[in-house]
């Protein structure tokens, strides 16, 4: 649904994006991960058609954003990090305005539906200026949703919100992506959100894509490590190696580190080796992320 090829963007001398390529399939919910200034917003703005690329192609639904921006924009909803609000309008008027310029046929119905979806029914008559940040963020989402787009591009939808609001927005995004064949791409630097919402993650660092894969394989890796603490590690080594699924056992001080092709805790426990503590050290998304973006192994 979203197809990006060799996207490059430079601001003067600064190279913000360098040869960025990725694809997002229809119905996928993809997390776009990266540090501040990594190029997340730049990429998303190019996809949404509010910024031109220096080189490369972005396609949404088969249309080239640079050549056919209006075709793309009629099927794409974009919520920038700072919601693009007219703060002296009421919530209802604003969303109605957004619906009109997005070419919605039944403006009133679309407005009502969008307000309902983001939980703004009760505040439709309030002036946006008087709303809390969480509500404003929702108005920004309502604007992106109002023309019922097939593709949603959300730039840090939870930034600057308190934990309760974060959870609300997170649930909302889960609702939006569930069921229908809507494609969602969202950026954030909150990893737990990505783990909760997305089924795939793309990691960008200094304008380059450094990883893109399914969340499960990126976070867990194919191998799991099990730490086994034993009173007498000497004799257990051989016994552990015989446990089904175990590929490697090594000493780590007083512990033994057992590497298996899957979570082998149960197998280890069943082997009736007298262990003190058994803990799974799965590689988490955070570790992968830190490793990829800082070069330091956690």
């Amino acid at each position: 649904m979203i197809e990006v090829q060799g996207l490059t963007k430079s601001y003067g001398d600064m190279l913000a994006l360098s040869d960025v390529s990725f694809t997002v399939q229809k119905g996928e919910v993809v997390g776009f991960l990266g540090q501040n200034g990594a190029g997340k917003s730049t990429t998303m703005r190019i996809i949404a058609g509010s910024l031109g690329a220096s080189a490369g192609i972005a396609r949404v639904g088969g249309f080239d954003v640079a050549e056919n921006p209006q075709k793309v924009q009629s099927i794409l909803g974009y919520a920038p990090e700072t919601p693009p609000l007219y703060t002296n309008m009421t919530v209802g008027d604003y969303v109605r305005f957004a619906a009109t310029i997005k070419g919605v046929a039944d403006v009133d119905a679309a407005t009502k539906k969008a307000l309902g979806r983001v939980g703004l029914d009760g505040v439709a008559h309030r002036i946006i200026d008087n709303l809390s940040k969480g509500y404003r963020q929702r108005v920004g989402l309502a604007q992106a949703l109002v023309h019922d787009p097939k593709v949603l591009v959300l730039d840090e939808p939870t930034s600057g919100l308190d934990p309760a609001q974060r959870i609300e927005i997170k649930n909302l995004i889960q609702e939006l992506s569930a069921g229908d064949d809507r494609t969602v791409m969202l950026s954030t630097h909150v990893l737990t959100e990505i783990e909760a919402i997305c089924n795939r993650v793309i990691i960008i660092h200094k304008g380059r894509i450094v990883a893109q894969s399914d969340l499960a394989s990126l976070a867990g890796g194919a191998e799991k490590k099990v730490h086994v603490e034993l009173a007498r590690p000497e004799g257990a080594m051989a016994a552990l190696q015989k446990v089904p699924g175990v590929t490697h056992v090594e000493h780590d001080g007083s512990r033994l580190v057992v590497t298996g092709e899957r979570d082998v805790r149960e197998a280890v426990a069943a082997a009736s080796i007298p262990f003190g503590l058994l803990s799974l050290q799965g590689q988490r998304l955070e570790d992968t992320y830190i490793q990829l973006t800082t070069g330091v192994t956690a």
């Binding site: 601001y11 949404a48 058609g49 509010s50 910024l51 031109g52 921006p69 209006q70 075709k71 793309v72 924009q73 009629s74 794409l76 974009y78 920038p80 700072t82 693009p84 609000l85 007219y86 703060t87 002296n88 309008m89 305005f97 957004a98 009109t100 310029i101 997005k102 070419g103 604007q143």
Partner: protein, 256 residues
Amino acid sequence: MIGALSIARRETSALFNTPVGWIALTAFTFIGGFFFTALLIGYLGAYQDSVLNPMQADQLSVNEWLIQPLFSNLGLIALFILPAVTMRLIAEDRRQRSIELLLTSPIGSFQIALGKFLGGMGFALVMAATTLPYTWFLYATGDPDTGVVLSNYLGFILLCATIVAMGTFCSAMTENQIVAFMMAFAGGLFLWISNWVVQGMEDSPIKTSIDYLSMLKHADSMGKGLIHTQDVVYFLSFIGFFLFATSQRVEALRWR
């Protein structure tokens, strides 16, 4: 087109939702009313003189003494006031980032430019409508030449449209509304008085072209009740040029 019209509607109502629009309108009606009263007093004085002097009575025309100078003065007030109204049209969107809503909606840069221009024109038309009581007064107390009245209105609206188009363009050039105001005002003032510079000059292509640039000259001939194609073309070409330039500028905003 629906996009442009809804942007226009939003802009005009935004103007009247903030003090800016009302203050500008108040200033226009106050100063306009002042001019009208002053012109009326002058006219009445001349009328009284003419009772004693029949020669003068022949020259005493409502058109020349009232309508034409009134609209000429109103044009000058518009030159001051409209830039203050148009300065926010795009600059404010850029500053508060609401421009992103427009840029990511399927409407294209020309519709954005046209919508902003028409939004400013909505205000200009309300402003023009506040002069209707003067016109009503002239009809109620005398017998003005309808052709002259209409051509004055046409000239005034075209003049306003030119200033609004230029103001919209200036507003797209910067995030700073004061800068946008000063650019539009300076540009308008230059077009207003550009023929003053060359008045003493001998006829030459330079004089003719600078003379042609002056809004005052084109508005004046309409003030006399003469609608020449070249005057209408003059205003329309300025409006068209600034609309085009604004849409190019909006398009360029996508490339920064």
